[in-house]
């Protein structure tokens, strides 16, 4: 009984050895990114194109909050970062963890809430007045509570209206954007979301956009090549590719067919001009 097993094992081992020696495995690039790029489906759409352009590399995405993405990059656990937390990114660069930082694209945050009993009490003309109204009316607000870029922006907005959020009606979920939107919908609560994740889940949510277009809600994504990355050539290749004309055009087209509007506005060209001025 033992022998056929041993034979099968040795055959499969020798086959796998010969396969791996014939075809050099593509080198892995570890990309730490925000949950919004993953949850909105952008990566699923965009990354295969990178694979076709650079078959010598394979991308492994770690989708976490911006804060965590930067932290694990600082520890050397990622080669390249795509984040949307400008202040944290600047600190990251100042601390010398980053080799280069280039703008990639923009989208915006939206304040969403229950469709039915929305606008009654609150003034939804700006993000600040809406948050102040929500705090005053005692409506439930769900915070990401996970140090992500969206969480950072939410805290900035609370600070702008001089409200220290807390209490029973302020829930810190400690989860990704998709999970928080589902939770807000179930609990008929308000939350701050990036537009892309909201749009991609909209059909399953009973939430409507209440505030949009406020300059405070602009959301800039940048790509950072990590200093001393274990796959530095791969990280640079990816950063160059995602800011290239071809990838930027792909980004600009994403969502048009499915949602009737683009989810991200590519703006790497602006950044490259800025970089070349140095």
């Amino acid at each position: 009984m033992r022998r056929p097993l041993a034979l099968a094992l040795s055959i499969s081992i020798s086959i796998s050895i010969s396969i791996s020696s014939c075809y050099p495995r593509p080198r892995e690039i570890v990309l730490a990114s925000t949950t919004s790029t993953e949850d909105s489906g952008l990566f699923e759409y965009l990354l295969p194109a990178f694979g076709r352009a650079h078959p010598e590399y394979r991308i492994r995405v770690i989708a976490v909050g911006s804060g965590e993405a930067l932290r694990l990059a600082a520890r050397g656990d990622a080669d390249v970062v795509l984040a949307h937390s400008p202040r944290a990114e600047e600190e990251f660069m100042t601390a010398g963890h980053g080799e280069s930082r280039t703008p990639v694209m923009q989208n915006d945050f939206v304040l969403v809430g229950p469709a039915e009993n929305g606008s009654g009490a609150c003034d939804f003309s700006s993000a600040a007045s809406a948050l102040a109204g929500i705090a005053e009316s005692g409506a439930t607000f769900i915070s990401r509570g996970d140090d992500s870029g969206t969480h950072a922006r939410e805290r900035e907005l609370w600070a702008a209206v001089d409200v220290e959020p807390g209490g029973e009606r302020y829930l810190e979920a400690g989860q990704g954007m998709g999970a928080v939107l589902m939770m807000a919908s179930e609990k008929r609560a308000y939350t701050l979301s990036d537009r892309g994740t909201y749009l991609s889940l909209r059909d399953r949510l009973q939430l409507e956009v209440l505030v949009e277009g406020d300059p405070r809600l602009l959301n800039q994504y940048s790509v950072i090549v990590v200093h001393g990355a274990s796959n530095a050539p791969g990280a640079r290749t990816f950063a160059d590719w995602i800011t290239s004309a071809a990838a930027q055009e792909l980004i600009g087209r994403y969502g048009v067919q499915q949602f009737g509007m683009r989810l991200f506005t590519p703006n790497a060209a602006v950044g490259q001009r800025a970089r070349s001025e140095f």
Partner: protein
């Protein structure tokens, strides 16, 4: 290695100084998993007894189902309970989703099969030994053997408790990891590790390990005591 040792040192500091955030999470974990296992006992003992005694078509399948229940994937249970409790689901009216009640419901589904399977095994041993031949009624024999089986039942409780308190999939999905409400040891470890707060995560990890160790030490003792007791008592 320094990161690791630092985290352990700070973790002990946090535990000893009685960090409120930490202990509220530990308390919530014990509460949720404890109640789930207690409810699992209430449901599992009758279910196991009934399955052991009843004769009906498909009984073999039902027994296999209970035994499969021992290996139910928590995320699948989480998915099932989530759909049941969501606003569009059949039990949406309860408003349980993202509350400790939902977590108890999910962990109950995970814990009950442990109790049912052990009870079933005890009942089947009664029938096999045919204690009735000694003059006891079927009911008396059953009670006798359930009493004899109480040690294995306690082991089932320990095993079930150890399993549910260390699962993360179901409680994350149906509880939502809400601060001060549905955040338990396992979901907090996921979040604190993601936020880079290794000391807090490590402190919770040490507590979880201690609980798992206590549960398993208990099971081991029961298993070793079992065969040694038999010759003495009979």
């Amino acid at each position: 290695m320094d990161v690791f040792l630092d985290a352990i040192r700070q973790a002990f500091g946090l535990l000893l100084t009685g960090d409120a955030y930490l202990w509220s999470i530990i308390f919530r974990s014990l509460q949720v998993s404890g109640l789930a296992v207690a409810l699992g006992l209430l449901a599992g003992i009758p279910l196991g007894t009934w399955l052991g005694l009843a004769r009906f078509p498909g009984r073999g399948f039902a027994v296999a189902l209970v035994n499969t229940g021992l290996a139910l994937p928590p995320v699948v249970v989480g998915l099932f309970v989530y759909i049941m409790l969501s606003r569009q689901g059949p039990l949406g009216g309860l408003g349980w989703l993202y509350t400790p009640s939902a977590m108890i419901a999910a962990q109950f589904v995970l814990a009950a099969p442990y109790v049912a399977a052990i009870t079933l095994a005890a009942v089947q041993s009664v029938l096999r030994l045919q204690a009735r031949a000694l003059g006891a009624s079927r009911w008396q024999a059953l009670m006798l053997h359930l009493r004899e089986a109480r040690l294995s039942l306690m082991a089932a409780v320990a095993a079930g408790f150890g399993a549910v308190i260390s699962e993360v999939g179901a409680v994350m999905m149906v509880g939502g990891n809400v601060h001060g409400e549905t955040r338990v040891i396992t979901t907090a470890i996921v979040l604190e590790t993601r936020r880079g707060r290794f000391a807090t995560a490590m402190a919770l990890g040490l507590i979880l390990l201690a609980i798992a160790f206590a549960a398993n030490a208990f099971i081991t003792r029961v298993q070793q005591a079992g065969p040694r007791r038999r010759p003495l008592t009979s």
